[in-house]
């Protein structure tokens, strides 16, 4: 039986945070994505998981661990920073760039899976596709996200989704991961 959703009111903003995924839900969602990837790819051969900064990176590592546990062979994992490729660079304060690190075999001819925490407007993924084009020529690019909250502004969709979370534009979806935030949960407020 699914755990009841918990609502906590943030004393600072007065907004109610509703937990939509807890640690176990996140783990289950990532396990499912790992199995879907293996099934779609017919194994882990030529698979490269590229996590998008910030929270996509630990998510990619966790999915890779789960694939390794099933297949018994390590999966290539990398980090991708799309800051320089964003289309809103000019309208924001200067953003700090993060590291882009490809696995030793590169991405040429590989099945690259972009991993991110939330899929929203699709602009981050557009920027990621531009960044990939500068890094090499993958055989195919797929997208795995923990949460798809809708409101796309570009014709982009995810191949693997942990949870579809219909949301109002004004709502805020927050993903917290143990590696970055000390806890695993997805909330909406």
């Amino acid at each position: 039986m699914p755990a009841p959703e918990e609502t906590v009111t943030d004393p600072a903003s007065g907004r109610a945070d509703r937990t939509v995924l807890d640690a176990r839900d996140i783990s289950r969602a990532l396990t499912r994505i790992a199995h879907e990837l293996l099934e779609r790819n017919k194994g882990a051969t030529d698979l490269v998981l590229l996590g998008l900064h910030t929270r996509g990176v630990p998510l990619a590592r966790r999915i890779a661990e789960k694939i390794t546990a099933v297949e018994g062979t390590p999966v290539a994992v990398g980090e991708l920073d799309v800051t320089m490729y964003r289309d809103d660079l000019r309208s924001q304060p200067t953003r700090r760039a993060h590291k882009t690190a490809l696995p030793p075999g590169g991405i040429d001819g590989k099945i690259v899976v972009l991993v991110d925490d939330v899929l929203f407007s699709g602009r981050t993924i557009r920027a990621a596709l531009d960044a990939l084009a500068d890094l090499g020529r993958p055989g195919a690019v797929r997208l795995a996200v923990l949460v798809d909250r809708g409101h796309r502004e570009l014709p982009i969709r995810a191949d693997h989704v942990g949870k579809n979370l219909p949301s109002a534009l004004a709502e805020r979806v927050s993903v917290r991961l143990a590696e970055v935030d000390g806890t695993d949960e997805v909330t909406i407020s």
Binding site: T83, M84, Y85, L89, Q92, P93, R95, A97, T100, D130
Partner: protein
């Protein structure tokens, strides 16, 4: 921050932030496609009123790799050789919709003056004997990559201090990052008033290179700037080398693997022997590639967003 005129314009956090961005830019140099779209639609003009190879080409490549439109204006071949004033030349160029101006000028303070005339972001690429902030940043960045952190590390800066803008910027940058700095020069090339300055800024001075070298964690040799010398600062080149050059014999005084820097161009056989310039621990060429990364980071932070320093 709108301009980069002096190391003093930067907080310690901003320097470290620049280093982080530069590390990311450094990775771009090993890519097949050395291009980022961050400055697409921006125009940068390099105005060099003084000869330069590495700084000018470094800024040019940095701008181009960030997808900015870059043009170069030099004193020779521009209207300044017909008598046009610096102000008129700068205003003319900026009237063409320039976003960034990289300026090198033989007069100390020229970059600050230019920044007061124009709306474009101004980067000081060396003004007379005053400052050369991107050189200091690239030196500190290169040393940090070698030494891990500069906190508590001993850096010796040796050579023609009087005429060196590199030294002035470097002392500020290195001490800001926690390094212990000792500057070494013959008395004739030690800037006047350095006693009060060193006391206030927290660095040491010495006339004895042989005493300083064994203690150093990094050595930075400075070029003897004969073109700026109007009088006799040392009896002969041979005597300077014997007294203050990083010779083959002096290499043996250094602790193992101590990085040797030189901002270039090098006077081989004068302030630095070929054995030192080409030694395994020489980081002269790393300074050049690090300089490109630093200049990409500087242009990115000045021109990409609507303000410097916000982290999203």
């Amino acid at each position: 921050m709108k301009h980069l005129l002096s190391i003093d314009d930067l907080s310690t956090d901003e320097i470290l932030q620049l280093f982080e961005t530069a590390a990311d830019m450094h990775d771009v140099q090993s890519r097949e496609v050395k291009k980022l779209p961050a400055l697409r639609g921006r125009t940068v003009v390099n105005m060099f009123f003084e000869d330069s190879t590495r700084t000018r080409s470094s800024f040019e490549i940095a701008g181009k790799w960030l997808s900015a439109d870059v043009i170069n204006v030099s004193a020779k071949g521009s209207s300044t050789s017909k008598g046009e004033s610096l102000r008129d030349t700068v205003l003319t160029v900026c009237a063409m919709g320039v976003d960034g101006l990289v300026i090198r000028h033989p007069a100390s303070g020229a970059a600050v003056q230019v920044s007061q005339w124009v709306d474009a972001a101004v980067v000081n690429a060396g003004d007379g004997m005053h400052e050369h902030p991107t050189q200091a940043l690239l030196d500190a960045y290169t040393l940090q990559r070698h030494l891990g952190s500069l906190e508590g590390r001993h850096v010796a800066i040796i050579g023609d201090l009087t005429h060196s803008r590199v030294f002035r910027s470097n002392v500020q940058c290195l001490t800001r990052l926690g390094a212990r700095v000792t500057v070494v020069a013959p008395p004739t090339l030690m800037p006047s008033g350095i006693g009060a300055w060193s006391a206030a800024a927290g660095f040491e001075t010495s006339y004895d290179i042989d005493a300083v070298l064994p203690e150093a964690d990094a050595v930075m040799m400075l070029r003897v700037q004969r073109e700026r010398m109007s009088g006799a600062f040392f009896p002969s080149a041979r005597e300077y080398t014997v007294g203050y050059g990083l010779t083959r014999n002096r290499l043996s005084l250094l602790k193992p693997d101590v990085p040797i820097c030189h901002p270039g161009p090098m006077n081989r056989g004068l302030e630095i022997a070929a054995d030192a310039a080409d030694a395994a621990q020489s980081v002269v060429l790393e300074q050049v590639s690090g300089g490109l990364a630093i200049r990409m980071a500087v242009l990115y932070h000045l021109l990409a967003g609507d303000t410097w320093g916000g982290i999203a």
